[in-house]
C-alpha cells in the first residue's frame, strides 16, 4: 500500500508530463490525498504496510518502506498541500505533473526504511524542483538554480560519506534503519558521522548560516506559488535530523547539541527579523519559513519528547499554511500582477472572502490557539525550555515577531482606506479555501489525534539520548 501511495502520484505525474490534460492532475492529487488519508486512518502505531525488496543484493541495500506515525502524518499533509496546489494554481498540466512527481518522491523519502533509499529519494526530489525552476522560473533562474544545487549537492556528499561510514564503522549488516539503529556509531567517529549528516540536513532545514539558497529559490520561481508550496514541503531537514542523524550518532549529537540549539534559535529570530522588513510576499514567506523551521529544529534538538513532537508537528502543519499562503500569493499576483506588499492596499473592501481566507492562514502561521500552528509551537517551546531556558526565551521572540510581520503584511494588503477593486473568491478558489480552513482547524483543535502514532517514536528518540519520559 505504501508503494502504491508513492507510485500513484508519480504515475499521474508522468502522464501529465507526457501531455495529459490538467484535469487528470487534479484527479491524481485527489486520489493520492484520499489514499494518504485512508492510510493515515488505518495506521495504528508501529510500522504498518512494511515492504522490503532487495535493491543491491550483497551490498545490503533494500527498497524498504513502511508507514509509521511520523510518515503517516507527513503523507497526510503532503497529499493535502499538493491537492490545494492542484486545485488553485493556474499552471499548465506539465507543471502540475512535476508537482505530482515530487509528491511521490517526497512520500518515498518520508517512508523509506533504508538509509541509502532515503538518500536516493532525498536527491531525486531535487530534480522536479530543479525542473520547475528551470522551465517556469523568472529571469534570474540560472543563478538561483546554481545556488540551490551547489548548496544541496555539496551538502549531500558529506552525507553520503556519513552513510557509508555509519555502516562500516557501526558494523551493521545492512542499510536498513532498524539494523543501523542496533549498531550505532560510538566514540570519536560519531562526531564526524554526525557532522556529515548535519551539514546536509542543516541546508535543507534551512538553518541560519546555510539558508542562503532559499530566498533566491523562491524569488525566481513561477508566480503561481505552486513551486513554492512544493519547496515548502521539501524542507525535510528537521525530519531527517529526527529520524536519521541524531539516532544514528547520538554521541556526536551530544557534543554539538549546544551549538545546534543556538543556531536553531538564531534562525528563528533572524528569519522573523528579515521577514518583518520584507517588501514582497514571497520574501516574507520565505523568511517566515526560515524562522518556523528554526523553531521546529529547536524542538528536535532539545532532545525531549515534547520538543520533538512539537517540532515535527510544526514541520507538518507549516507545509499546509505556508504552502497555502504561497498559493494565495499566487492568486493575488494573478489579480494585480505584483507581489509587492506596499502596492496592494485595502483589498478587503472588494474581496472580503479573500481577506478572510488570508487572515485564517496568517493566524495559523502566527500560532493562534485553535489553529494549526499553535500545538507545535507550544510543545516545541516547552521542550526547548527543558533543554535551555535562555535559548527558549530567545526563540520565543520569533513567535512575537511573527505576529508582527504577519499582521503588518495583512493590514497593508487588506485594510487601510483606498481599496483597489479585485475579484473576490470565485470558482476553484472556494474548494481550496474550505479545504484549507477545515484542515487548519482540525490540525489546531485535535493535535492529539494526529500525534497519537508519533508519540512512541518521540519517546524512543528521547530514550536514545538518555532522557525521556
Amino acid at each position: 500500500m505504501v508503494v502504491l501511495a508513492i507510485l500513484l502520484p508519480i504515475l499521474f505525474g508522468v502522464l501529465l508530463l507526457l501531455g495529459a490534460p490538467r484535469a487528470l492532475g487534479v484527479l491524481g492529487a485527489l486520489a493520492s490525498f484520499a489514499l494518504n488519508l485512508a492510510l493515515f486512518l488505518a495506521q495504528r502505531g508501529g510500522e504498518s504496510f512494511a515492504v522490503s525488496l532487495p535493491l543491491l543484493p550483497g551490498a545490503g541495500v533494500y527498497w524498504a518502506f513502511a508507514l509509521d506515525g511520523l510518515s503517516a502524518l507527513f503523507f497526510l499533509t503532503v497529499g493535502l498541500t499538493v491537492l490545494l496546489g492542484a486545485l488553485v494554481a493556474r499552471v499548465e498540466g506539465r507543471f502540475l505533473g512535476l508537482a505530482l512527481l515530487m509528491e511521490g518522491l517526497l512520500l518515498g523519502l518520508f517512508s523509506a526504511q533504508d538509509l541509502v533509499v532515503f538518500y536516493l529519494f532525498f536527491e531525486a526530489a531535487l530534480i522536479p524542483a530543479l525542473l520547475m525552476l528551470l522551465f517556469y522560473g523568472g529571469e534570474g533562474r540560472v543563478r538561483a538554480i546554481y545556488t540551490f544545487l551547489l548548496f544541496t549537492l555539496v551538502g549531500s556528499l558529506p552525507m553520503l560519506a556519513a552513510i557509508l561510514a555509519v555502516k562500516a564503522l557501526g558494523g551493521s549488516p545492512t542499510f536498513l534503519l532498524k539494523d543501523l539503529l542496533a549498531h550505532p556509531v560510538r566514540g570519536e567517529a560519531a562526531l564526524w558521522v554526525f557532522l556529515g549528516f548535519a551539514l546536509a540536513f542543516a541546508i535543507k532545514t534551512p538553518l541560519f548560516p546555510v539558508h542562503a539558497w532559499l530566498p533566491l529559490f523562491h524569488r525566481e520561481n513561477h508566480p503561481s506559488g505552486l513551486a513554492d508550496a512544493m519547496g515548502t514541503l521539501y524542507k525535510v531537514g528537521v525530519f531527517a535530523f529526527f529520524r536519521y542523524a541524531i539516532p544514528l550518532a547520538p554521541e556526536g549529537f551530544a557534543e554539538l547539541q549546544g551549538l545546534l540549539l543556538f543556531l536553531a534559535a538564531l534562525s528563528a529570530v533572524y528569519g522573523a527579523w528579515v521577514a518583518f522588513s520584507a517588501k514582497d510576499f514571497k520574501t516574507l514567506l520565505a523568511y517566515a519559513g526560515v524562522s518556523h523551521m528554526g523553531v521546529a529544529a529547536l524542538g528536535v534538538f532539545s532532545g525531549t519528547p515534547e520538543g520533538a513532537l512539537g517540532g515535527l508537528y510544526l514541520l507538518a502543519a507549516s507545509g499546509v499554511y505556508t504552502g497555502g499562503l504561497f498559493l494565495l500569493a499566487g492568486r493575488l499576483y494573478e489579480r494585480l500582477h505584483t507581489l509587492e506588499i506596499g502596492r496592494y492596499r485595502g483589498l478587503s473592501h472588494s474581496a472580503p472572502g479573500l481577506a478572510a481566507l488570508a487572515l485564517f492562514l496568517f493566524l495559523a502561521m502566527v500560532g493562534l490557539p485553535g489553529l494549526a500552528g499553535f500545538p507545535g509551537e507550544l510543545m516545541t517551546l516547552l521542550g526547548a525550555y527543558k533543554a535551555s531556558p535562555w535559548l527558549a526565551g530567545f526563540a520565543f521572540l520569533s513567535v512575537i515577531a511573527s505576529a508582527a510581520y504577519a499582521l503588518t503584511a495583512f493590514q497593508k494588503t487588506f485594510w487601510e482606506e483606498e481599496g483597489r477593486q479585485v475579484a473576490d473568491l470565485g470558482g476553484e478558489e472556494w474548494p481550496f479555501a474550505l479545504l484549507a480552513v477545515l484542515a487548519l482547524v482540525l490540525l489546531g483543535v485535535f493535535p492529539g489525534f494526529f500525534l497519537q502514532g508519533l508519540r512512541p517514536l518521540a519517546e524512543a528518540f528521547a530514550r536514545i539520548l538518555g532522557g525521556g519520559a
Binding site: 532487495p54 531525486a124 544545487l149 549537492l153
Partner: protein, 426 residues
C-alpha cells in the same frame, strides 16, 4: 569465437572494401560487430581458452562495453571512406584481445592492435586533427615502450609472462610500475593524462566517443589483471592525482570536448579507486555507467557539430531539439552521479568499496572532488536550456539511440541490481 568473428570480419572486409560501396560497407561493419556481440552473449558464462587467449567474466564484461562503444561510433559517423569502419573493426578486435589475455606479450600486441587504428582515426580530419594525432601517437608509442620494458622486467622478476604472478623485490615493483605507466596512458590517469584534452578536442567527435569508451574499457580490463594484485600505494597516488587534476582543470574549460576530456581523467581516477580496492564488480558497473553516459554526451555533441563545440554553442539546444537537449542533460547528471541515474550507483559502489577497505583519506578526497565536479557538470547540463541558437541537424536514428540510452541510464539507476550479477563473474 568472439575473436574469430571479429578478426575474420576484419580480414574479409579489408579485401571487400575495394569492391563494395561505402554504405553497404558500413552495414557489413555493423553486422560484424553485432555478430561479435552476439557470439559474446552466446558464450556468456562459459570459459573459453586457446593458449594464452582466455575468455572469462572480466573479458566478456569489458569486451561488451568496448563493442558497444565501437557500434555506437560506427553508427554515428558520417564519412565517405570505408577505411574508417575498417579501422574501428580492427581496433575492436584488439580491444577484445587485450581484455582476454593474461599473457603480457600478447597484451602488448593487442595494445598496439587497438592503438594503431586509433592513431589513424585521430587524423581523420586534416589540419587541427593532425597535431592532436601526432601527440597521441608519440605518447602512445612511449607508453608501449614503457609497457614493453615492464614486461621484460616482469619476466626477469618472476620468470613468468602471466599477469598476476606474485613476486617481490625492487625489480618486481619497478616492473609493475612500468606496466602501470604504460596502461595509465591509455586510460588517461594523471599524471599520464597530458595528451587527453588536446586529442579529444582535436579529433572527430565519433572517434573521441570510441576513445573514451572502448579504449578505456579494454585497458581497464588489462589493468585489473596486471596491476590490481600488487600495485599498492603507487596506484593510490594516481587515484588522488587523477581526481584532483581532472576535476579542477575541468572547472575552467570553455569547450565541451575539452571539458569532457578532463572529466574523463577524473573518472579514470574513480575507476582506479575501484581497481585499488580490487573489486571487479564495482569497476565494471562504474565503467558501464560511464561508457553509457560519456558515449551519450559525445553522441549529442557530434550531432551539434562534428568539430569543436564551445559551450556557448550548446545554448538553446533544448528548444531546438528537446530530445537531444534532454539526453545531454541526463548524461551530464549521470556523470555527476545524481540519483536516480545510473551514475550514482557507479560512484556509490566504488565509494562503498573504499569505505570497506578503510581508505577514508581517498574516500573523502573522492567525495570532495565529486562535489567540485557538480559545478561544471551543472554548467553543461543547464547550458542546453538557456536562450540561444544551437545548431543541430540530428538524424532520427541518432536521436532515438540517444533517447534509448538516456532511458536506460534512468532504468539502470532504478534497478541497478539487475546487471550486477552479470558483472560479478570476474
Amino acid at each position: 569465437m568472439t575473436l574469430l568473428v571479429l578478426a575474420g570480419f576484419s580480414v574479409v572486409l579489408t579485401l571487400l572494401g575495394f569492391f563494395v560501396s561505402v554504405p553497404a560497407f558500413k552495414r557489413l561493419t555493423i553486422l560484424g560487430l553485432s555478430l561479435g556481440l552476439f557470439a559474446l552473449l552466446l558464450t556468456w558464462g562459459r570459459a573459453e581458452a586457446f593458449g594464452p587467449y582466455q575468455v572469462d567474466g572480466v573479458s566478456r564484461a569489458f569486451t561488451l562495453l568496448a563493442l558497444l562503444g565501437a557500434l555506437w561510433t560506427v553508427g554515428l559517423v558520417r564519412t565517405r571512406r570505408f577505411e574508417f569502419y575498417l579501422l574501428v573493426l580492427y581496433a575492436a578486435t584488439g580491444m577484445h584481445l587485450l581484455a582476454s589475455t593474461k599473457n603480457l606479450v600478447l597484451m602488448l600486441v593487442a595494445l598496439e592492435a587497438l592503438s594503431l587504428p586509433l592513431y589513424a582515426l585521430a587524423t581523420w580530419r586534416r589540419g587541427a586533427g593532425l597535431e592532436a594525432a601526432l601527440k597521441y601517437f608519440l605518447l602512445g608509442a612511449l607508453a608501449a615502450a614503457f609497457f614493453l620494458y615492464g614486461t621484460a622486467l616482469f619476466y626477469g622478476a618472476t620468470g613468468s609472462l602471466l599477469a598476476g604472478t606474485p613476486g617481490e623485490g625492487p625489480l618486481y615493483a619497478l616492473a609493475l610500475a612500468l606496466l602501470l605507466v604504460g596502461l595509465g596512458f591509455k586510460v588517461a590517469l594523471a599524471p599520464f593524462h597530458f595528451w587527453t584534452p588536446d586529442v579529444y578536442q582535436g579529433s572527430p567527435t565519433p572517434v573521441v566517443l570510441f576513445m573514451a569508451t572502448g579504449v578505456k574499457a579494454a585497458a581497464f580490463a588489462a589493468l585489473l589483471r596486471v596491476v590490481a594484485p600488487g600495485a599498492g600505494d603507487a596506484l593510490a597516488l594516481l587515484v588522488a592525482l587523477s581526481v584532483l587534476i581532472g576535476n579542477l582543470a575541468a572547472l575552467s574549460q570553455k569547450e565541451a570536448k575539452r571539458l569532457l576530456a578532463y572529466s574523463s581523467i577524473a573518472h579514470a581516477g574513480y575507476m582506479a579507486l575501484a581497481l585499488y580496492t580490487g573489486n571487479a564488480q564495482a569497476l565494471g558497473f562504474y565503467l558501464l555507467t560511464y561508457v553509457l553516459a560519456t558515449g551519450l554526451a559525445f553522441a549529442v555533441l557530434s550531432e551539434v557539430s562534428p568539430d569543436q563545440v564551445p559551450l556557448e554553442r550548446l545554448k538553446g539546444l533544448f528548444h531546438k531539439d528537446p530530445l537531444l537537449g534532454l539526453s545531454l542533460f541526463v548524461a551530464a547528471l549521470s556523470l555527476l552521479g545524481l540519483p536516480p541515474l545510473a551514475g550514482f550507483w557507479g560512484k556509490y559502489l566504488v565509494f562503498t568499496e573504499a569505505a570497506k577497505a578503510g581508505q577514508w583519506g581517498l574516500l573523502v578526497l573522492a567525495l570532495l572532488t565529486s562535489a567540485v565536479s557538480a559545478y561544471y557538470y551543472l554548467g553543461l547540463a543547464l547550458m542546453v536550456f538557456q536562450k540561444g541558437e544551437a545548431e543541430a541537424a540530428p538524424r532520427p536514428l541518432a536521436r532515438n539511440v540517444a533517447l534509448l540510452v538516456a532511458l536506460f541510464l534512468l532504468l539502470l539507476g532504478l534497478f541497478p541490481g539487475t546487471v550486477l550479477p552479470a558483472l560479478a563473474a570476474g
